[in-house]
């Protein structure tokens, strides 16, 4: 049996097909939400999918265990990029998040999510003798993760900082944390919430307040929430049809090709469409966890769990925001939202998971 045949035989086709399906839905929605504007957004999205696919192939081809050796360098690179954001970053509406690379723009905080997954998985593999983490074992890794999280908080980008911490926390919970430690940490976090509230910027506080009461500022940040809910709800069972969503086509809802793309799906395809989308995500994420379950080492398993948590969080926060059960934070929908670097990172994650799945057959 040739090596090539082995690749196709042992490849996790289920994951790959689910992703292709999701991307197709995304393309339809990006097309629908930008049709008639004459912008090149659809074409650019196609281009990024091609670039992302190439990166995915690379992420699949190189043995994932090599990532272990690059955990620290990657971590260092991300921290440097996050510091650079303050030095040469571009300020867009009050927050510094982007670095310009010639014509391209990069958001280092996006990369931080993936690199923190890699670092935690590496740490778990290195310390595989630790069965249950107590306070003493957690101090060092927590400090390592706090550095990028703090830098992201300073940008300020509350949403991303929360996601990074949540992913890392999930991974450590999977590894096992002593019950007493868990209680102490949970208690401290809840006690810390009021302090967090006062350290927020005005616009962030406004977003949370308008989430609690959208009519507070119907034309400002509450506007998104109201219009998005109307779009989703009015989709009904079968939707208004492709290119016929009145909310989105009539531009009542801004940013509908990026953060609010879910409302396009829900409005034009109804509950059937949004349900299918949720089902696809469920398939994808459970398959990723299954790959982790069968991985041949702790490193691979943790990579998969981290990536599963990453996708779950994005899907949950993004859709919650569109249906009005979460404040408006700028979190895109994996494989569906318009956005080049985000698509690229998503595909690289898929490449890593396929890599872990495939290499469990190789010794």
């Amino acid at each position: 049996m040739s090596r090539y045949a082995k690749i196709t035989e042992n490849l996790d086709w289920g994951i790959l097909l689910t992703v292709v399906f999701l991307i197709c839905i995304g393309l339809l929605c990006v097309f629908s939400s930008t049709s008639g504007t004459g912008s090149g957004i659809f074409i650019r999205q196609l281009l990024w999918i091609c670039i992302g696919t190439m990166f995915m192939v690379v992420a699949f081809a190189v043995d994932y265990r090599n990532l272990m050796y690059s955990a620290w360098p990657l971590y260092a690179a991300v921290v440097i990029a996050l510091v650079l954001v303050f030095v040469i970053g571009r300020e867009i509406s009050g927050a510094r998040r982007w670095i310009g690379l010639g014509p391209l723009r990069m958001q280092p905080s996006e990369l931080a999510k993936v690199f923190v997954i890699i670092w935690v998985a590496y740490w778990a593999e290195k310390k595989k003798h630790i069965l249950v983490h107590g306070m003493r074992e957690l101090v060092f890794p927590a400090a390592v993760i706090m550095v990028p999280v703090a830098l992201i908080l300073l940008q300020p980008d509350l949403g991303t900082a929360g996601i990074v911490s949540f992913i890392a926390a999930t991974m450590f919970l999977m590894l096992g944390i002593r019950r007493s430690t868990l209680l102490t940490l949970g208690g401290t976090s809840i006690a810390g919430l009021p302090f967090l509230w006062f350290s927020l910027k005005d616009y962030q506080r406004l977003r949370i307040l308008t989430f609690l009461d959208p009519s507070r500022d119907p034309l400002g940040s509450g506007y998104h929430a109201i219009q998005s809910k109307i779009a989703v709800g009015s989709g009904g069972l079968i939707g208004k049809g492709f290119l016929h969503g009145t909310q989105t086509q009539l531009r009542f809802l801004p940013e509908h090709h990026t953060d609010f793309i879910f409302s396009v799906v829900a409005e034009e395809w109804g509950f059937l469409g949004s349900g299918l989308l949720l089902f696809l995500y469920l398939m994808l994420i459970t398959k990723i966890i299954t790959v982790g379950l069968k991985a041949k080492d702790r490193f691979g398993a943790l990579l998969c769990f981290g990536i599963a948590a990453y996708f779950t969080l994005h899907v949950f926060i993004n859709i919650s925001m569109a249906i009005g059960i979460f404040p408006v934070v700028g979190v895109p929908l994996p494989f569906v939202s318009y956005g080049g670097s985000f698509m690229l990172i998503n595909l690289v994650c898929v490449g890593i998971v396929l890599n872990v799945a495939w290499r469990r057959f190789i010794f």
């Binding site: 571009r90 009015s234 469920l282 966890i289 041949k296 702790r298 899907v315 919650s320």
Partner: protein, 606 residues
């Protein structure tokens, strides 16, 4: 294939915990599914009702641009209200009916209006303009009938108005519809398609100041699409004003002095770099660009052989001619090779090996020292000095004074001109510098190219004792002293004496413009366009126009403590003193006249 268990104890533990992870995913996605089910299936009808009744239209209102004023507060660019007739195609049940009703009110054929309405078929929710900038009487007529015209409305928008037509048009620039590229780069979401933005001149470089903030009006509309009430209104914030260093009066005088000829005038305050006047002819009416330009109008402007859009004062680069002799004299002083009292004999020709170079006066000037050489613009004197100095020493002084490079004025598309050096020629043509080229460079011919603005900057520095200022056009900005050449007072005195003689000495090359009442110095310049053509008439009327020489004159006043430097250039104008001298004199005269006339402060305070 067998399972690979490296650490069964740990892995078992980890595997047991995945059930929590599965549970988390199911719970989170389950919440979403439940919520979607209630929203879309159970409350679907409710939201659909909301969406159908979602007859909220958000219309942004363009902010009035800031005014552009001259140094005395005279408004050069302002806004006037313009009325457009708009239709919302969705609300028009019969385009032909609406068109027939509108036609008599707007004095426009019904077919034309119908065609405009039908254009919006694909996008029924975007309001369309069917008649632009209608008169006030027409507005009244339409308003009277507005209730019989569902879907029709009148929109008032600020339209840019340039109060003095083509005066200062190159400095002010113009506005136009925002380009696709600009929209793509617009990360902050300031612009929408169709917005007007600065495209040239001050309108472009001070876009951020002038722009203002868009207003927003939220309407509720009824089933017919009529605006029932305003739900929310945020007023547009007018852009901030920009005050220029220009003097509108002096601009008018400069423009009149240039007349129908192609050329440029720059007037500058030598002690600050403030530009008092900058005119370039022919000009254009900037208001044309703010409206809808027809293809013919656009082609007419673009194909005009006189290039009216070009600001010759900073975009046009010409050989400096004899004006450059001042630079050569300073280079001579700087190199320590120039004794102002030593005379050079001018027989009317200068010999370099077997080649000879003529003085403009074939019979020769006889024995001339520096002052006389400047006054009479003796070529042989400067040929001699140029050969001694060489091109690099002359270019070095040119660079120090700001020639051959952009002056640093904030306006866009400035030409750098060209200050040749040996190195430049080697790199550009792969050829060495020829001895004869030193000689012709010394009288401002050859490769050297300068803009009128560069000459104004350089000559301001010469007459103020060596302080090189960046030309400045915004009144509220500070003067920038680029460098101080610290030219010894004695050298400045000698050069000024020569420059004064140009006008006041009966043998001066511009004595014809002398006005007894004004203390003034200057220098003529005639830049050859075609070599070897010698005119037999003073106005060169026997030579084809495009081969005629460019004419320069630079003047300053008063000689003792200069307050103003004026540079005039006429393309293919002939001899500098004869044609450009009067322009400069008129501008300087105008400057004193305006200074003595007390003017009402026109600054408008809101």
């Amino acid at each position: 294939m067998k399972a690979n268990i490296t650490n069964p104890l740990v892995d078992e533990d980890l595997r047991k915990k995945t059930k929590y992870l599965f549970a988390l995913v199911f719970v989170l996605l389950g919440i979403l599914a439940l919520r979607l089910f209630t929203m879309q299936i159970i409350h679907g009808a409710f939201y659909e009702e909301l969406s159908r009744n979602n007859r909220i239209r958000i219309v942004s209102t363009p902010p009035p641009r800031g005014k552009i004023m001259d140094r005395n507060g005279v408004v050069l660019a302002d806004n006037r209200p313009a009325f457009n007739v708009m239709v919302l195609p969705e609300d028009i049940s019969s385009p032909s009916d609406t068109a027939t009703r509108l036609s008599p009110l707007l004095d426009k054929p019904a077919a034309e209006i119908e065609k405009a309405i039908l254009k919006g078929k694909g996008k029924p929710y975007d309001p369309l303009v069917v008649a632009r900038d209608i008169t006030f009487e027409q507005v009244a007529k339409v308003e009277m009938e507005i209730f019989n015209l569902p879907g029709v409305s009148i929109e008032t928008i600020p339209e840019r108005e340039y109060l003095f037509g083509d005066l200062s048009c190159h400095v002010l620039g113009f506005i136009g519809e925002v380009s696709k590229r600009r929209l793509e780069q617009d990360e902050e979401g300031i612009y929408a398609p169709g917005d007007m933005v600065g495209k040239a001149g001050i309108e472009l470089v001070r876009e951020d100041t002038l722009r203002g903030v868009k207003g927003k009006r939220v309407f509720e509309v009824d089933a017919l699409g009529r605006r029932v009430r305003v739900l929310d209104e945020r007023d547009a914030v007018e852009g901030r004003d920009v005050m220029l260093t220009l003097d509108q009066g002096l601009q008018t005088i400069a423009l009149q002095a240039l007349g129908q000829r192609a050329g440029a005038v720059v007037a500058m305050r030598p002690d600050t770099g403030e530009i008092l006047a900058m005119e370039s002819t022919p000009g254009f009416d900037p208001a044309l660009f703010a409206g809808i330009l027809t293809t013919e109008q656009w082609k007419g402007i673009m194909d005009d052989p006189m290039h009216p859009l070009e600001n010759r004062a900073m975009r046009g680069a010409y050989p400096p001619g004899s004006v450059f002799k001042i630079v050569v004299a300073l280079a001579g002083f700087h190199a320590g090779v120039l004794d102002p009292d030593a005379a050079v004999y001018c027989p009317g020709r200068f010999y370099l090996g077997r080649v000879s170079y003529g003085c403009w006066k074939p019979e020769g000037h006889g024995n001339v020292a520096l002052v006389e050489a400047i006054t009479k613009s003796c070529d042989v004197y400067f040929y001699t000095l140029g050969r001694t100095l060489g091109i690099d020493a002359m270019a070095d002084m040119g660079f120090r004074l700001g020639l051959g490079r952009r002056t640093g004025i904030i306006l866009k598309d400035e030409s750098p001109g060209l200050m040749p050096t040996r190195k430049w020629k080697r790199e550009r043509f792969k050829q060495p510098w020829h001895p004869g080229e030193h000689v012709i460079a010394a009288i401002g011919q050859g490769y050297t190219l300068v803009t009128p603005l560069q000459v104004a900057k350089a000559m301001s520095a010469v007459v103020n004792g060596g302080r090189v200022y960046t030309p400045r056009i915004i009144a509220t900005e500070k003067s920038v002293l680029e460098r101080d050449l610290n030219i010894p007072q004695r050298q400045i005195e000698i050069i000024k004496e020569g420059l004064k003689g140009v006008v006041e000495d009966p043998h001066g090359t511009a004595h014809s413009i002398w006005d007894r009442g004004i203390s003034m110095g200057g220098k003529t310049g005639t830049a050859q366009v075609a070599r070897g053509i010698v005119s037999k008439r003073p106005d060169e009327s026997d030579i084809p126009f495009r081969l005629r020489d460019h004419a320069w004159f630079f003047g300053f006043s008063p000689v003792e403590k200069p307050e103003i430097v004026v540079v005039a250039l006429l393309e293919h104008g002939g001899h500098g003193g004869a044609v450009c001298g009067p322009i400069v004199r008129d501008v300087i005269k105008g400057y004193y006249l305006l200074k003595e006339t007390p003017r009402e402060p026109l600054r408008q305070d809101h």
